[in-house]
Symmetry: D2
Amino acid sequence: MDSNTILAAFDDVARRRGWQPLHKPKNLAMALFVEVAELCRHLQWRSDGEIEAMMRTPEAGEVAAELADIQMYLMKLAAILDVDMEKALAEKIAENRRRCADKTAEVYPG
Amino acid sequence: MDSNTILAAFDDVARRRGWQPLHKPKNLAMALFVEVAELCRHLQWRSDGEIEAMMRTPEAGEVAAELADIQMYLMKLAAILDVDMEKALAEKIAENRRRCADKTAEVYPG
Amino acid sequence: MDSNTILAAFDDVARRRGWQPLHKPKNLAMALFVEVAELCRHLQWRSDGEIEAMMRTPEAGEVAAELADIQMYLMKLAAILDVDMEKALAEKIAENRRRCADKTAEVYPG
Amino acid sequence: MDSNTILAAFDDVARRRGWQPLHKPKNLAMALFVEVAELCRHLQWRSDGEIEAMMRTPEAGEVAAELADIQMYLMKLAAILDVDMEKALAEKIAENRRRCADKTAEVYPG
C-alpha cells in the first residue's frame, strides 16, 4: 500500500466526518505528538524485556494500531506541508552517510 | 525507496557508530518523541499562515529533514517491535471505515 | 501546599501500590510527556477561542486534573534527579533577564 | 519564590520582547511539550545509571534549566487557562487517595 492510497483513505474519512478544516499544520503536529504518547502508554512503565513479552500478547495489536496512526498523521502532515518524503529520506540518508564518514565521532546519536 | 532500504541505511550508520545497543524499544520511542518536538520547534510560535510562508523559505529543508528523521525512527521502532506496518495500516484504515459508517458521529477525530 | 507535601502524597500512593521501583528517571520523563499529551487531547482540534469556551464547561475540571498530573510528575522527576527547583527557577529567571537586556533581539522565544 | 513571582518574571520578559501575543493556549501547550523533549535529549540514550552519573557532571546544570523551563511554561499555561493549580493539586491528591483505598488494584500507574 503506497502513501497515496493511505492518504486517500485518511482524507476520505475526514471528508465524510467534516474534519478536513481541522487538518492544518499545527493541529496535525499536535495530533502526531498525541499519537506518539498513545504508543508510549504501552511502554512507559515497562522494561525493554517486559515490552518484548507484551508484544507476544493481544496488546500487541493495540501497539500496531498506534504505530499506524503515527504513520498516517506523519504522511498527512508531510502532504499538507508539501514535503516530498521520498526526497527528504534520500537526502537524510545521504547526509547521515557523510556524517558517519567524518572522522569526528559523536558519542550519542542525534 | 522502500522501508527495507531505509532501515538498512539506518542500521548501517548505527553499526559503524556502535549505536546498535542503544536501539531498544524505550530509547527509540523517546527518540521518536524528541524528533517530533524538533519538528515542532519550527511550528510552535507560528500561525498556520506563517508556517505556509516559512515552507517557501530555505527553512523548509530543515522541516523536511525532521520529517525524515521521524519516519526513520518510526520504521526502526516498528521493526524492533516486530510490527508489520503494511498490515497495521490496512487494518487501521479498515477500522476507520467501519467507524465512519457507524451512525454515531464523533465531534472530533481521534 | 508546598512541593514537599505534594511529593509526600505522591510517594505515599506509590508505596501503597508498590509502584516505587517504577519511579526511575526515564520512566518519569516518559510519564511527564504522556501527561502533557493527555492535556493536549483537550486542545488539539480546537482553536484558542474554542479552548476558552471549553474552559467554561465541566471539561475544565479534566484539564485542571491533567495540569496537576504534569506538576506532580515534574516535581517527582526533579526530586529523583536531585535538582533544586527553587534554585533552578531563580537561575533561569536571572538568565532570561540577562538575555533580554542583550541588544540582539531574538525573533521568537525559546 | 512563589508562582506569582515566577509568572511576573516570565511576563516581564515576554512584554519587553513583544512575545505576549504568542502566549496563547495552543502555542504554550506545544512549547511545554517541546521543553519536555529538550529535557529528554539529555536522557534518551542513557540508562538510569548513566543518567545518575551525568547528574554529577556540569551537564546537570542544563538539565536543571530545562526543568525550570517546563515549570515556567506549565505555570503560564495554567494561568492563561485560568486554572487554580493549588486547588487542582489538592483535588488530584484527594482523588489519588480515594483510588488507592479502593480494593481493585491497578497493575500500573496512570
